[in-house]
């Protein structure tokens, strides 16, 4: 198939929205990393920066939605073009949610700074955040390179994140049972872990969009089930 549209402005528009998604993805990736760093380093200033940076992410999502709406109205995309526009809109929504979770982590870091430090938990949480960050990077690569295999790989890796979350959950439970003073920070940390786990789910959703974009249908195998809380 020829890559170029007869109407070249159509190509420019399509490339434009995808570039914006990549830019947004970059910002979100950075937000996850910095939110995790701020948490480990108990760096309030960095946390504030992450919270402020979310505004740019929200603005980008709005911009992408507007561009997509225009593109649909003006160019009536079909087939792969339509799928690009639809997946871009969904990916932008997912990225925005991930950005919100990062912001929420930063917010909780600002609170945690003034509390007792929970030993060991930070490192695990940071590893988890790092894993999500990697997944996001990979899924964005998969998106821009139309790489279904990489996207499927990301889908599978989400299970690892879920397991990490389950482990952390038990760890926090133990801390709280051992010492009631840890209840408040552990609750905050647990929410941060949950946020990270949700980020992973959104990354998974993006990976699904990539598969849909390339193949025209959603991945056949049902997505790895979310955490069962019967433990």
């Amino acid at each position: 198939m020829n890559d170029q549209h007869i109407v070249s402005a159509f190509d420019r528009d399509l490339e434009g929205i995808q570039a914006h998604v990549m830019k947004m993805g970059g910002l979100v990736e950075a937000a996850i990393g910095e939110a995790a760093n701020a948490m480990v380093a108990r760096d309030q200033e960095l946390a504030e920066q992450v919270r402020a940076a979310d505004k740019a992410i929200d603005a980008l999502e709005e911009l992408i939605n507007e561009r997509c709406a225009n593109l649909i109205a003006l160019r009536a995309p079909a087939a792969v073009d339509l799928r690009v526009v639809l997946s871009v809109m969904k990916i932008a929504g997912n990225l925005e949610r991930i950005g919100d979770y990062a912001k929420n982590m930063a917010k909780r870091t600002s609170v945690l700074v003034h509390m007792e430090q929970v030993e060991g938990a930070h490192a695990s949480l940071k590893r988890m955040a790092h894993e999500v960050q990697l997944m996001l990077k990979d899924v964005l690569d998969a998106f821009i390179q139309r790489d279904v295999d990489l996207a499927r790989d990301v889908l599978e890796r989400d299970e690892g994140v879920d397991q990490m979350y389950n482990a952390l959950f038990r760890e926090f439970l133990t801390f709280m049972m051992e010492d009631p003073r840890y209840i408040t920070p552990c609750m905050h940390l647990h929410f941060m872990a949950k946020n990270t786990e949700r980020m992973g789910d959104h990354v998974t959703a993006i990976a699904e969009q990539v598969v849909y974009l390339v193949t025209g249908s959603m991945p056949e195998d049902a997505r790895p089930k979310a955490t069962r809380l019967d433990a």
Binding site: M1, N2, A76, A78
Partner: protein, 265 residues
């Protein structure tokens, strides 16, 4: 979650009205249609799309043997309507064309009154026993053509005095007046403005519950809007045939994809 597989089989369960097997059309030495196989559903709208000169109109005109009027045109293969081969020696094209009505690209009412335009077909086929019968057929056809309310007070005004969109609906009404089972439409909206086009599209959608409609269109959006199934022709080949929603969201063939997304194909 919907079971898309099951939906798909439901669509396939509808009755086949027209079935074409290994159809070849030659214009003199030019091989215009190459080995086309297609099953067209009864009581649904099937759209033929494709770039200019791809053979979609030629194939459409095979279905009511309008190509017979062209000396150098030769058709091979089988086209069956309700299982009967329409190129059989026993088939009279005139009789066939009463069963397979046609609407053309340019609205072409006869330069006669609106009434006579509709009444002509029933008259030559002897469908009306008397004047009252004929009046009834005319009214019914005009209603089915969704134009009755606009013309009922001036049935004896010339049909050529109507607007383009009205003329085209008049032509559709004229085509349904002979009680056809299949309606062929050759780019019926290409000469119409968007409002008239929308009216004709609405009409096509209504006609679907009584007729098998086959429409050739240059507007992919129109094919997407009115049809249940879409066939994409390219250089005389039937490249892809499937449910319209599938063709327009996720075509299987690269040529189809290139064409419907507006890339050089």
């Amino acid at each position: 979650m919907y079971d898309t597989e099951k939906l798909g089989t439901d669509v396939n369960q509808t009755e086949t009205k027209i079935s074409a097997r290994n159809v070849q059309v030659y214009y003199g030495d030019t091989h215009a249609i190459k080995d086309v196989n297609v099953d067209i559903d009864a009581k649904s709208v099937t759209a033929f799309i494709g770039p200019s000169g791809c053979g979609k109109s030629t194939f459409l005109r095979c279905i009511n043997r309008m190509n017979d009027t062209i000396d150098v045109c030769r058709v091979e293969g089988d086209i069956k309507i309700d299982g009967e081969d329409i190129y059989d020696k026993r088939v009279d094209p005139v009789q066939l064309r009463a069963k397979v009505g046609m609407v053309f690209q340019k609205p072409n009412p006869f330069p006669k009154s609106i009434y006579d335009n509709i009444a002509y077909g029933p008259r030559i086929h002897g469908l009306a026993k008397n004047k009252a019968d004929l009046d009834e057929i005319v009214e019914k056809s005009l209603r089915r053509g969704a134009i009755w309310n606009e013309v009922k007070d001036r049935l004896h005004a010339p049909g050529t005095g109507l607007s383009g969109g009205q003329q085209q609906r008049l032509c559709i009404a004229r085509a349904v007046a002979t009680e056809p089972e299949v309606l062929l439409m050759d780019e019926p909206c290409s000469a119409l403005d968007p409002i008239a086009t929308a009216q004709v599209e609405e009409l096509i959608d209504e006609l679907r519950d009584q007729y098998s409609v086959v429409i050739v269109t240059h507007s992919m959006q129109q094919a997407a809007r009115v049809s249940q199934k879409t066939a994409f022709f390219h250089l005389g080949n039937l490249v892809e045939y499937g449910d319209t929603s599938q063709i327009f969201t996720n075509p299987k063939d690269e040529r189809t994809e290139s064409y419907i997304t507006g890339r050089i194909g």
